[in-house]
Symmetry: C2
Subunit: 341 residues, 2 copies
């Protein structure tokens, strides 16, 4: 055991509106001793995701709120440094929902082994992990894009959006991406998006009309708010709208107000469906296999934005709401001691 004390990040204060540094509390804690059947995991990479903002609030949602003054949890890739389970040995690389801390002692069944030879280990938090599966099931199960249809993706340069657009292309659709910087737009073009819109500098309504002369058949909604209001006006008959996220509203202190969608849905006989990736948990294997194949054959590219250092976790998280990330936002906490990187 190389260390006996470690850093943790607790939820120090529930944010109202945009979280800030007061939201997070750094603490020192002993490195735990794994019990029988447990493993000790050393955090290598840690995922920060927009949905975590929801858990900082004490309201009913699809996931439990984070308790105050306890360690925040999220996706982690780590290495096993000590194992009291026959399922793992020191040096294994694993992924799991673990704490924002340098070491976690958890039951063996709380983590899943990943093979560093198949793909870089960070992909377990991105293209081959929850963001990839979210894109896969939301687009294919709810959106069901058909060849030649127009698919619009908001938050298009994010971890989920960039994969959604590429899967839509694989399925033969025309893809329009909305993102917030010219650098992101350029990236979207590189990975095959047909049209791109910069919501910070373009008039989104006009740009959408121009980019979607045949209307919108699938709208993969990551952002909600005013951008989505514009897309709803262009929905074609029998359009499908997977509702994956509403990042525009996550930091609103009050209610998220805007045009109601009912009339638009009636006019277009359109379908909207909210979802979380867990709805498809019994099909994760299928999804991971498909994503892996596409990554391997080069038809699915991915991008990661990696911030270095445990202390920079809050900054990386807050950056999500400023659009600082291209693709999956990760924090690199440590280089492996025993595992293959």
């Amino acid at each position: 055991m190389e260390k006996t004390s470690q850093k943790q990040i607790h939820l120090a204060k529930r944010p109202t509106g945009m979280p800030d540094n007061d939201t997070f509390g750094f603490k020192d804690a002993p490195v735990p001793e794994p019990k029988d059947g447990e493993v000790l995991v050393r955090t290598l990479y840690l995922s920060v995701d927009p949905y975590m903002r929801g858990r900082m609030q004490d309201t009913e949602s699809y996931v439990e709120p984070f308790p105050l003054n306890e360690v925040i949890h999220g996706g982690v890739v780590g290495e096993i440094v000590q194992s009291n389970s026959t399922d793992f040995k020191r040096g294994d690389t694993i992924v799991g929902m673990l704490g924002w801390q340098e070491y976690s002692a958890v039951p063996a069944k709380a983590v899943r082994k990943i093979d560093p030879d198949t793909a870089p280990i960070t992909t377990a938090l991105g293209v081959l992990g929850m963001p990839g599966l979210t894109a896969y099931f939301g687009l294919l199960h709810i959106g069901q894009p058909q060849e030649g249809e127009t698919v619009v993706v908001s938050g298009a340069a994010g971890a989920v959006g960039s994969i959604v657009g590429q899967i839509a292309k694989i399925k033969g659709a025309r893809v329009v991406g909305i993102a917030g910087s010219d650098e992101k737009l350029q990236y979207l073009k590189q990975i095959g998006f047909d049209e791109t819109i910069n919501y910070k500098t373009d008039n989104v309504g006009q740009a959408l009309k121009k980019a979607c002369p045949n209307g919108v058949d699938v709208y993969f909604d990551n952002v909600g708010g005013e951008i989505s209001d514009e897309v709803y006006s262009l929905l074609n008959k029998f359009a499908r709208v997977p509702i994956c996220g509403a990042i525009s509203s996550y930091n609103k202190a009050g209610e998220d107000l805007g045009p109601r969608v009912q009339t638009k849905l009636i006019k277009s006989s359109a379908l909207m469906k909210g979802f979380v990736v867990g709805d498809y948990s019994d099909r994760f294997e299928e999804g991971t296999r498909a994503l892996g194949t596409w990554v391997k054959n080069g038809s699915l590219k991915y991008e990661e934005t990696i911030v270095e250092g445990f202390d920079n976790i809050p900054e990386a998280f807050l950056g999500l709401f400023k659009g600082s990330n291209l693709g999956k936002q990760l924090v690199k906490v440590a280089d492996p001691l025993y595992a293959k990187a």
Copy 2:
């Protein structure tokens, strides 16, 4: 031929906000001569429906707007008084989308014969017509109520809502109806609704929570607006929301603003789907058969509010937005001369 001139109602002015008497223009016109292949229909009953408000506006929708200064069209039950088609003979009762006028000359294929011995002829505009089919397909195809689930219906005492609630009961669900008068609530109880809410006198949010202790699995939305906002807050995981109408917004001059639904849909993985009955036109026969069977065996009851006299059509139409009707709102224009009533 008993008359040579007739009354018609034209769209005199496109309403902004609530339509009023200026919206409608009465005109005298000759009774037309049916051409070869046409029939001359004498209007007996005429349907007024909330969706017609949409056609008075000159905006894109799922149906063409009514042209200005031309006869308004809607559902009509009439009798054939003259036939230049081998498909019909004088005295046949028919249903079709015809003008707000006493006589219509139309191609034989524009109307469908109905059998006055199977059910009262007015049912062709109600429980066995578009409102019945709208309830049937919207609830069963989109809502898919399961035994023991909670189904909430807004506009519950209307032509569609009252049928929705009863079909949900037939399928074994618990049904909560929202309507606007105690008389209507009493009617809903009579036809089997488990719980009722008067949106004009009850606190809808509180009343809903009380009436739906296990949340809402299906919300059949006829009204939109603030009533629906309250229901969305109670959606259970995997809830289904058929969006049939948004009568609360039809007469709004400006945009219909309120809480956006995205976050609520994500939290519940709920599905919302707009629809119009025409989406299911290839299955009308199935629907009509099922509805007819339920009416015959007494498990599906229906109510009609009938205003008498051609001159009272505008009043009947305007009454829809004041909630004057219980069940299907019809106007009786004439007693049949040749047909069986």
